[in-house]
Amino acid sequence: MATDKSSFQLVINGILNENPIFRLVLSMCPAVGISTTVMNGLMLGIAVLFVQVFSSVTIAIFKNVIHPRIRIPTYTLTIATWVTVIDMVLAAYLPEAYAKMGIFVKLIVAFAIITMRLEMFASKESVDASFWDGIGMGLGFMAGMVALGFVRELLGLGTLLGYDVLGFQPLLFFVLPFAGFFVVGLMMGFFNYIEVVYKRSKARQA
């Protein structure tokens, strides 16, 4: 049973139609907790991309020898192994960014998005398709995190990636930790609104 989508479609699917943060509403902890700056979002996005791609490929390779009854523990241990790898790599080569992300890198192991993609996609599809699906999901997560970080950093600190853009701080509220809930909620509502408007204009054209 193979998917009929091309690799490009799989990647786009992960970024837009099934965006992990805004569409599937999975892996919300980091989206609220550490999306205060673009840089944080980018770093955790890279870590998740790495774990997602390697876990998907690993499961896709071994899918025929995994007994269905122990599949969930197998997925969990596979993810845990790759998380350990990225955790140690980040701690060794990017200690500053690693300190900022704190416990969240280790918590990638419990992110629902990764287990879900292994269960829904990688355990059924070919290695090739699983690789591209992993890339799509990882990029989609990263895009969501960067979008949140963009809004919060620009409105809260007036900077982007650490560079001063606005020259003043519009609303400090947005970088305070709890504001993550408000920003995620409001942005989801905003995206829903865009979709409604888009569909309405399409219906009018037809």
């Binding site: 907790g33 969930i72 998380v83 416990i103 280790k106 419990a110 809930f181 909620g185």
Partner: protein
């Protein structure tokens, strides 16, 4: 929740009794002693008025932590009250108030040495860990963990209760097991890099074990709570707690209290949220905000409210 409030009511008198007991069996001259308001103070009360000049001399005091008797703590000055019945000891550096301090005072009555131990009650300390994990550092509203499951299962009160109780049981069992593994296997053999793999493996094992046991022993309970067991694994809190335990080197009782507080806090958050969401269902909300987006805004307001607990210090 009435059952929980009853439990707390029953628990409080025992607690108060425990704190009062040391006062009843106190030694002669010094009637009471405690850490002061600032973290560099110790307050000592005397049974009767003492010679103010003797009590104000810093050379008459020897203070050290019980675990390090060789390191004498630097005393800056001593302030004695007007009536000579109490004194405040000021130290050059902040004290570690979690440790037991030994205060020895010489010549209070001529040619005597009196020594007392100053410590926070250990039970009180354990209780503060519990309350800290439940309210002050609530994992959902102030640490932003476990949100996927939180938003997924807070639609109705029944689901919220089922998920909260299942989660509390699993987290207590798995945290205790993780503590044993960390203290007796990972640490002695220098295998700390395996933390993530071992802890998540233990969680899977606990979930699987609870599943099997519950299915055999109590099928009615299994029908009610079985569906939530799978979701427990996707909850970040369940892996965050063992990592925190390992980082802070907590002992067995502290680990138990932290995991119990984390589970109770999650149950509390779920129940509060589900109460609000049941009402939101009936409210007139813009269609683009229906469902998850408005739930996030409500959770944000809860988080703001929970900030109010941050000033709370119990013992």
């Amino acid at each position: 929740m009435p059952r929980i409030t009853e439990m707390i009511k029953g628990f409080l008198p025992t607690l108060i009794l425990f704190f009062c007991l040391p006062g009843l069996v106190q030694a002669a001259m010094i009637t009471d002693k405690s850490f002061g308001e600032e973290d560099n103070q110790i307050v000592v009360d005397f049974a009767s008025a003492v010679d103010r000049e003797v009590a104000a001399t810093t050379e008459n005091y020897i203070v050290y932590e019980e675990s390090d008797p060789d390191i004498r703590l630097q005393l800056e000055r001593v302030e004695v009250a007007e009536d000579g019945k109490s004194a405040i000891l000021y130290f050059a550096e902040p004290l570690n108030t979690l440790k037991t301090h030994v205060v020895t005072i010489r010549n209070l009555t001529p040619a005597t040495v009196e020594s007392v131990k100053v410590s926070k009650s250990y039970l009180g300390y354990l209780f503060s860990i519990l309350i800290g994990a439940m309210l002050i550092n609530n994992f959902v509203f102030t640490k932003y963990l476990g949100l996927c499951v939180f938003f997924g299962t807070s639609k109705r009160k029944d689901t919220a209760k089922g998920m909260g109780i299942t989660f509390t049981i699993v987290i207590v069992v798995s945290a205790v097991m993780s503590w044993f593994f960390y203290q007796f296997i990972l640490k002695p053999f220098d295998l700390n890099f395996l933390q993530i793999v071992v802890f998540i493996g233990l969680v899977s094992l606990t979930v699987q074990a609870v599943d099997t046991v519950l299915r055999k022993i109590n099928p009615v309970l299994f029908n009610a709570f079985g569906v939530y067991l799978v979701l427990v694994i996707a909850n970040c809190i369940i892996i965050a707690v063992p990592l925190i335990l390992a980082d802070n080197e907590y002992n067995f009782f502290e680990s138990f209290m932290l995991s119990f507080g984390a589970g109770g806090g999650f149950l509390l958050a779920l129940y509060l949220m589900s109460s609000v969401r049941e009402r939101i269902e009936l409210a007139n909300i813009p269609p683009t905000f229906k469902g998850i987006p408005i739930a996030f805004v409500v959770a944000g307001q809860f988080a703001l409210a929970f900030l109010g607990f941050s000033g709370l210090s119990l013992f």
